[in-house]
Subunit: 179 residues, 2 copies
Amino acid sequence: METNLYTVTVTPMINMLENLSGILEKASSFAKSKQLEWHPEGMQESSLLNSHILFDQFPFIRQVQIACDNAKNGVSRLSGIEAPKHEDTEKTFSELKARIEKTVDFLKTIKPETVIGQEERKITLQFFPGKYLSGLDYATLYLMPNFYFHVVTAYSILRKNGVEVGKGDYLNNIPWHTQ
Amino acid sequence: METNLYTVTVTPMINMLENLSGILEKASSFAKSKQLEWHPEGMQESSLLNSHILFDQFPFIRQVQIACDNAKNGVSRLSGIEAPKHEDTEKTFSELKARIEKTVDFLKTIKPETVIGQEERKITLQFFPGKYLSGLDYATLYLMPNFYFHVVTAYSILRKNGVEVGKGDYLNNIPWHTQ
C-alpha cells in the first residue's frame, strides 16, 4: 500500500460517496415513513430533499450534487481526463442515488497512474482567475476539505430533520483487520 | 513536493486548525456584539460555546476539542510519538483558541520522517477492540474524514447561530500562486 495522489483522493472519495449513498437510503426510508395517504404524492421526500439548516444555505439535494461534482471535477483536474457532464435535474432520492452511482462509476474508470505523480501540475479554478495551486496543495488543502464540507453538511441537514444517521454511517466501509 | 503520510495528514490538519482559529475569532466578536450591559457577564459567549444544532449532539466547544484531539491523537498513532494530554476545561473562546494553538504547536514538533512510511503500521482504536487498520487506511478513511466531520459541524453550529462565516473562512490559507 502506497500513499500517493490516487490513494489520498480517489480511494477515500469513492468510499465516502458509497457511505453517502447508504445515508440516502436511510433518508429515503424516513421520508417514506412520514408520507401519509392524504399528503400530495412525494411531499415528504421532496421536503426533505429541499431542506437546509439555514435559509441562505444550499439544500440537501444541492449539497449532494456539489459533493459529487467536487469528486468528479477534482479528479479530472488532477488527471487531465475530462469528466462527464451531470445536469442538476434530480428530484427524488433514487435519482440522487443514481447521481452518486454514476460519479463513483466515473471515479472507478480513473487509472491510478493518471493521477499519481501530478503533484506539480498547475491547477486552476474558475472562481480564482489568474491564480493556480500545485496538484498536491489542491488535493490536500482544497479538494478534500471542500468535498468533506458538503458531505458533512448534507449529513447535518438530515440529522436536523430527524433521520437516524450516526457516525457509523459516515465512517462506514472501513477495512478493519482482525488482530 | 511529495505526497506522503505527513503531507496528507499533518500539513492539512495544521492548515485547517489555523482556519478554525480564525473562525473562532469571528465567533468571539459576534458573541461580544450581542452581550448587553444588563446580561450576566459572558452570557452570550457561554451560550454560543455551548450551542448545538441538535439536542443530542456535542456542543460547539466539544466539537472543537474533539477536532483537536483527532489531530493530536491521530498523528500520535501514526508516528508512535506520545501526544500531550489536554483536559477539556475550556470555558471561553480565548481558552479554546489556546487549545487549538497548543495542538498546532504539538503537530509542528512532529518530524515528517516519524510519520512518513508508516502505511503498514497497525493502528488500533479503543472503540474497536480486537481490530486494527493499516496506517494508510487509518489516515485516509478514518482520521481525515473524522477530523473534517468535527470541524464542519463546529462551523455549522456557528452558522446556525448567525456568525458570519463562509467558505472563505473554512478554505483559508490556501497557497495560491500567481499565473
